[in-house]
């Protein structure tokens, strides 16, 4: 391939910078510097993006590979579909690389909404969730726009039973929000309302995970983030519990 690369380089469309371009570049530089840089607004730093609403401490948090440009989630669907084993085989290594300091975590949930897949990794003690959102067009083995974050507490995970559920970490990935938690054995469905969006969670083996292409928090009058999501639960007997309240940590 080297001879191909070498030949290609002889066909480079880029030209050396001319004297005129250097002069214009100098003018451009001064024009840019004359523009006051935006104030150091509170950046949504990668660590800050993980907001934990339960009474647990964030042990660690971080996002990886945030693309610089916003990606549209136009293909997002309110209801998820399960990922196949083949899809998990393709996507899993990318997420494990992004969450590489969660070696002990196991994959507990995996879902697809349009061109995006979500994988949730967990350790129960300590109570840690690692969520990983990737773009993967169905049928393709290309995985990109990998964003992942982790949050949790130092102790064991809270155990819930019956029709209870917990509200775990809420992560605000650029343009998308993700949350997960535990559900009691009577809970078969979790629906999240976030503003105008309604999203049905993936629920399995006592855990749920859900994401939607919008915020989970709005700023109140003083600029502090206020949670804007509510939950409906579907119970095994068909009952729907509207505006269900999460179990309080003990």
């Amino acid at each position: 391939m080297n001879s191909i690369d070498e030949t290609l380089r002889t066909m480079d469309a880029a030209e050396p910078v001319t004297g005129e371009q250097h002069l214009r570049a100098a003018d451009t530089l001064e024009r840019i510097l004359a523009a006051e840089p935006e104030p150091d607004r509170p950046r949504r730093s990668r660590a800050r993006l993980i907001l934990v609403t339960a009474a647990v401490a964030v042990l660690a948090g971080g996002l990886t590979q945030l693309p610089d440009g916003d990606r549209a989630y136009a293909s997002w669907t309110p209801a998820p579909t399960a990922l196949t084993d083949a899809e998990i085989t393709v996507i899993g290594p990318e997420c494990q690389e992004a969450l590489r300091d969660m070696d002990e975590a196991r994959l507990v949930l995996a879902e697809r909404r349009g061109d995006f897949a979500m994988l949730l990794y967990r350790t129960e003690n300590p109570d840690m969730s690692g969520s990983c959102l990737v773009r993967n067009v169905p049928g393709s083995d290309d995985v990109d726009d990998v964003i992942a974050g982790k949050a949790g507490g130092s102790g064991p995970a809270q155990v819930v039973s019956g029709s209870d559920f917990t509200q775990g970490a809420i992560a605000d990935f650029r343009g998308a929000s993700i949350t997960d938690g535990a559900v009691g054995s009577d809970v078969t469905g979790v629906t999240v309302h976030a503003g105008k969006l309604t999203a049905q969670a993936t629920v399995r083996d006592g855990r749920y995970v859900v994401w939607w292409p919008g915020p989970a928090f709005i700023s109140d009058d003083e600029g502090d983030p206020t949670l804007m999501i509510t939950y409906d639960l579907t119970l095994r007997n068909g009952t729907i519990v509207a505006d269900a309240q999460p179990a309080r940590p003990r």
């Binding site: 030949t7 024009r31 840089p37």
Partner: protein, 187 residues
């Protein structure tokens, strides 16, 4: 705020001086030359506003700027629908009748034809390595993907380019021997 400006400004001036030519060349490969300087100006304006997150290492800063330039280019095309990749053009190869350079020119014309047969995503993947001189990690940063994904894409793009050049005698030999020429060894 003001007290921080001199450091910020001097860092930006140094970055501008070190990378202007590379960013201009990056743009020239992807847009009409008459538009390239505007793209570079947009890129550095965005960089100036985000100097607090600019990588300190030269190679990483260069890749960071390429990523901003790419997003500037993609954003201008969003009106046409989602665009995932930027086509990369080559300099024109002019055939010359007769002469000792015939074979070399034919080879370049074939390569140019094969290049034009690649998808924009394949051209973009190859260009980041071949023309922009980025390593896998830096190229992955430009595209917003992992280094592993980039290496996979690069492998596929190289295969596609070779397919566009016609049967490889070495591959034909492997096929005759009953081996799968698609199997590749890691570089």
């Amino acid at each position: 705020m003001r007290t921080l400006k001199p450091d910020r400004e001097s860092r930006f001036r140094a970055l501008y001086a070190d990378t202007y030519a590379d960013v201009l060349r990056f743009a020239q490969r992807r847009v009409h030359p008459s538009h390239a300087e505007d793209v570079v100006a947009d890129t550095f304006l965005a960089a100036w506003r985000r100097m607090d997150v600019a990588p300190r290492r030269h190679g990483d800063a260069r890749a960071w700027l390429f990523g901003i330039a790419r997003n500037c280019l993609l954003n201008t095309r969003r009106g046409l629908g989602r665009q995932d990749a930027l086509a990369v053009r080559l300099a024109e190869v002019r055939p010359v009748a007769g002469g000792a350079e015939d074979a070399a020119i034919t080879w370049r014309l074939d390569l140019a034809t094969a290049w034009r047969g690649l998808s924009a995503a394949e051209q973009e993947t190859l260009a980041l390595t071949v023309f922009d001189g980025l390593d896998s990690k830096q190229a992955a940063r430009v595209l917003g993907i992992t280094a592993t994904s980039y290496r996979l894409r690069l492998l596929r793009a190289r295969r596609a380019l070779r397919r566009g050049l016609g049967p490889d005698p070495a591959e034909e030999s492997l096929t005759i021997l009953g081996l799968d020429p698609r199997m590749e060894t890691r570089p």
